[in-house]
């Protein structure tokens, strides 16, 4: 219950950061994708179900706020949450390489999805320039931010887990 509330609150904070606070920072041409970072963090730290739900709701909120088709980004975040969740408890998460690699592949996957379903279908073929101008800057930025953000989420998760264990012991 406590975790549920905290995760909902965090999602709200990330959505607001994403759509309104990050825009107010001057000289920032590209934005890191916080929802994506949060989704794969949930997947890595809490497993597929948590990752899927986080991605689904995060994507849904983003879609309603700004997207044209509801469910479009929801679907990709859902899949990313599921896929990263498959590594849950099979991969050690306290190495910085893990969030870096995950962020890299998730971003790549996410952008390819947008490119294929929103641009390629309208016969926009110059992928090279899209990659140079849009995908690459956001990819780098997201990877950098993900190191910090994943670290924070990792420690937050550890604290919560200890807390949960302690309260479970009390009842036993």
């Amino acid at each position: 219950m406590k975790r549920f509330l905290i995760q909902g609150l965090l999602m709200g904070v990330f959505v607001l950061l994403q759509v309104s606070v990050l825009n107010r920072i001057p000289y920032l041409n590209t934005k890191p994708n916080l929802i994506l970072i949060y989704t794969f963090s949930a997947g890595l730290l809490r497993g597929s179900v948590n990752g899927m739900l986080t991605g689904f709701f995060g994507g849904l909120i983003m879609d309603v706020i700004l997207g044209q088709y509801i469910g479009f980004s929801s679907l990709i975040y859902l899949v990313l949450g599921f896929l990263t969740g498959l590594t849950y408890q099979r991969l050690t998460t306290d190495v910085p390489l893990i969030p870096i690699l995950t962020a890299f592949f998730c971003e790549l996957f996410y952008h390819l999805y947008i490119y294929i379903f929103r641009f390629l279908v309208r016969n926009r073929l110059n992928f090279g320039s899209y990659f140079k101008n849009i995908i690459f800057p956001e990819l780098v930025f997201t990877v950098v931010v993900s190191i910090v953000l994943f670290g924070l989420l990792y420690y937050g998760n550890n604290l919560l887990e200890e807390n949960e264990k302690r309260s479970a012991l009390k009842f036993v």
Partner: protein
């Protein structure tokens, strides 16, 4: 032990399946409707708009206070003020120019009134911008409660900024003219030669918009003002879009194309006006 693990996997797969189906169904519904579903929209906008509004408000408050404190900021403010005045004067000048150009026509077509300052308008603040750089959209803090409808034109200081593509009760989403999916039919203010303004991601990153389908011998020169055409189906006539640059003849030797410097500063767009009149 093995069985339990399989059960666990099955339950994950069911959740995945159900959520995917929800996504696909809402995708299909919104795609076929061309607009998103009201229930979702009102629910989220009720929760989201006030907070986002508040954040914009807090941001404004802090930036205002900071400006008052330091002298440098005060000077900057003065510059801003003068720029604003300059812009207003430029607008006025542009208006006079347009009056001058249209005077001869006016004599013939006395009943056509094409002054956009005469339209009813509502001011709005930009409260959210598109996630990522693929699209160029922003959300404003006015919606159907303020009389906004889909396809209404949005202007900012300088000229046309975009068009309303989604309306909620107290917010609406504006797709800017930079967006890859946008096409605006336009004309040159001085020569009335027609052309097409098309959003393009490549050009967008350089701050330009594509200008296409002009006749090879059309009388459009560099830095000519491009305005919306009276023939456009969604855009009101005579709104400034930008200034033509880098014109060159296409390889087919029949048409000319180039780029447009938008007259609106999309990087720092904060306040916009929505024209409460739909093109008939």
């Amino acid at each position: 032990m093995k069985k339990r693990r399989l059960d666990f996997l099955f339950s994950i797969k069911y959740i995945l399946l159900i959520l995917t189906i929800i996504c696909l169904v809402s995708l299909v519904i919104t795609y076929s409707k061309g607009d998103s579903i009201g229930v979702y929209k009102t629910a989220v906008s009720k929760a989201f708009s006030p907070i986002s509004n508040a954040i914009t408000g807090i941001g404004d408050h802090f930036s205002d206070q900071k400006k008052l404190r330091t002298e440098k900021e005060e000077l900057l403010e003065r510059i801003e003020h003068l720029e604003e005045e300059n812009r207003l004067l430029q607008d006025q000048l542009r208006k006079y120019q347009s009056d001058y150009y249209s005077l001869s026509e006016m004599k013939e077509l006395l009943n056509i009134k094409d002054d956009f300052s005469g339209y009813p308008m509502v001011g709005a603040k930009v409260i959210a911008k598109e996630n990522g750089n693929w699209f160029s959209k922003f959300t404003i803090n006015r919606g159907s409660n303020d009389g906004i409808e889909k396809d209404m034109n949005v202007v900012a200081a300088g000229g046309l900024a975009g068009i309303v593509t989604q309306v909620g009760p107290d917010y609406s989403v504006v797709t800017s003219i930079l967006d890859d999916q946008m096409n605006v039919s336009a004309i040159c203010r001085s020569s009335r030669a027609s052309c097409m303004v098309m959003g393009d991601i490549d050009a967008m990153s350089e701050g330009y918009i594509r200008l296409m389908y002009m006749k090879k011998d059309a009388d459009i020169r560099e830095f000519d003002e491009i305005i919306t055409a009276p023939t456009s189906s969604k855009y009101l006539p005579d709104l400034t879009i930008g200034y033509a640059v880098l014109l060159q003849t296409d390889p087919n030797n029949m048409t000319m194309s180039g780029y447009l410097i938008p007259s609106v500063d999309f990087e720092n767009i904060e306040n916009v006006m929505v024209i409460l009149k739909l093109k008939q």
